[in-house]
């Protein structure tokens, strides 16, 4: 009799409890802290599903960066943090919402218990495609992202750029081109500056390492890029660096570099390798790593810009 199923059930109950806390907490800040813990716990669930790549992404982006985004937003909303305390919905609405939520969750449970057997799978196709075009990659997820479904991955990078453009565009008209508000206005604490100065070089190294081993082991451009982005945000929070102006040429080049390189190489594949987004088999691995390097750059530039927000926001807002 193994102990693991019981641990799985305990972990699931813990995740539900923390999720409940993020919904039930009175304070926005407490709720966001609960959400970060929830993201880290969820990473354990992903590891139990044999998905270490997803676990890394969930911990870094789902928990960490989203938490920073919400805490920063809550601070910028300032005194309005606990807005709407007086307009609590009535008992009737709560009951209806609870019944509706329970019904949806129950229906999903029923679907999960009735999933078809044997399950459908794209794994054979993916493995075949990996041995064809993405030769030399030991990590099947990276091979799927960069070779089997490469078009999706490139479009997803475009979505990131569109989101940055969207965030910049909702700023006030007269602030266009300026820098987003700094992460903190007061003089930063000495421990924060120390942390940023000590952590940032190590974190950048680890981010590049995660990107590099992503070809063969869990890791990759998303996870490595998210780590680099986190390091940039730590330095900005410590006041060691300031958010750049949104019309800075280098920033825009860094944002566009990933999808642009991806697209150019994909188009070139049509001429050299016979089809759109195909790579010559002998050069597949170096080409994929080349594209991924620029993707890391774009992700590392895009995520902090998404968190930093629209240009010219006054910090007291």
């Amino acid at each position: 009799m193994s102990l693991l199923p019981y641990l799985d059930i305990c972990l699931a109950l813990l995740v539900v409890a923390v999720a409940f806390w993020t919904i039930a907490a009175r304070d926005l800040f407490a709720s966001v802290v609960g959400y970060v813990a929830y993201g880290l716990l969820l990473a354990f669930v992903w590891i139990r599903l044999y998905a270490p790549d997803v676990a890394l992404t969930e911990a870094a982006v789902g928990g960490g960066v989203t938490g920073v985004l919400l805490i920063t937003a809550g601070k910028r909303l300032g005194g309005l943090r606990n807005v709407g305390q007086g307009e609590r919905p009535g008992f009737g609405l709560s009951l209806v919402a609870g019944v509706l939520a329970a019904a949806v969750a129950g229906a999903l449970c029923a679907v999960i218990l009735m999933l078809p057997d044997p399950p459908p799978s794209l794994a054979p196709e993916a493995v075949a495609a990996i041995h064809g075009a993405g030769a030399g990659l030991g990590n099947p997820i990276t091979a799927v992202l960069m070779s089997y479904r490469s078009f999706d991955t490139m479009l997803e990078k475009m979505v990131l750029i569109l989101a940055v453009v969207g965030v910049w565009s909702v700023g006030a008209d007269n602030a266009w081109g300026g820098a987003p508000a700094p992460f903190r206005v007061s003089k930063p604490d000495a421990p924060m500056v120390f942390l940023a100065q000590m952590l940032a070089p190590v974190g950048v190294l680890i981010g590049i390492h995660i990107f590099w081993v992503g070809a063969d082991e869990p890791g990759g451009a998303f996870q490595g890029g998210a780590l680099l982005a986190a390091m940039w945000m730590v330095t900005m929070m410590a006041g060691v660096a300031q958010p750049p102006r949104v019309d800075a040429r280098w920033l825009r080049v860094a944002l566009v570099a990933g999808p642009a390189v991806f697209l150019v190489i994909g188009l070139a594949g049509g001429v050299v390798a016979g089809s759109f987004f195909a790579y010559p088999p002998a050069l597949a691995k170096p080409i994929i790593l080349f594209i991924e390097a620029f993707m890391v750059l774009s992700i590392a530039a895009a995520l902090p810009m998404l968190v930093a927000g629209s240009p010219g926001e006054r910090p007291d807002r």
């Binding site: 604490d189 421990p191 924060m192 000590m198 952590l199 190590v202």
Partner: protein, 95 residues
């Protein structure tokens, strides 16, 4: 030799787990934020350190052993810094 290393692993991990347990109890039971912070730092420094020590003989290679130590060092750094930051925020809040 192997048996000795196994014994060392078991002892260190058990001790580390004890510190995690004690720290969690402290986090839940201590009355104010500063003492809760005190309980937490024990978990970071000693609990994780002992567990890393216990896992070292079981590492597959020197590189993964090094990674374990780096993880501990990073947790030490971030734990100590955030404890300082929380402490300062508390002191500011009291004034």
């Amino acid at each position: 030799m192997i048996a000795f290393l196994d014994l060392l692993s078991i002892a260190a991990i058990a001790a580390g787990t004890f510190f995690f347990f004690a720290g969690t109890v402290g986090l839940l039971r201590f009355p104010d934020s500063l003492s809760r912070l005190h309980a937490l730092t024990k978990v970071d420094n000693l609990g994780l350190g002992l567990i890393v020590l216990g896992l070292l003989p079981r590492a597959e290679s020197a590189l993964s052993a090094l990674k374990l130590v780096v993880i501990w060092a990073l947790v030490l750094l971030s734990g100590a810094s955030t404890a300082q930051l929380i402490g300062r925020a508390l002191r500011r809040g009291r004034k």
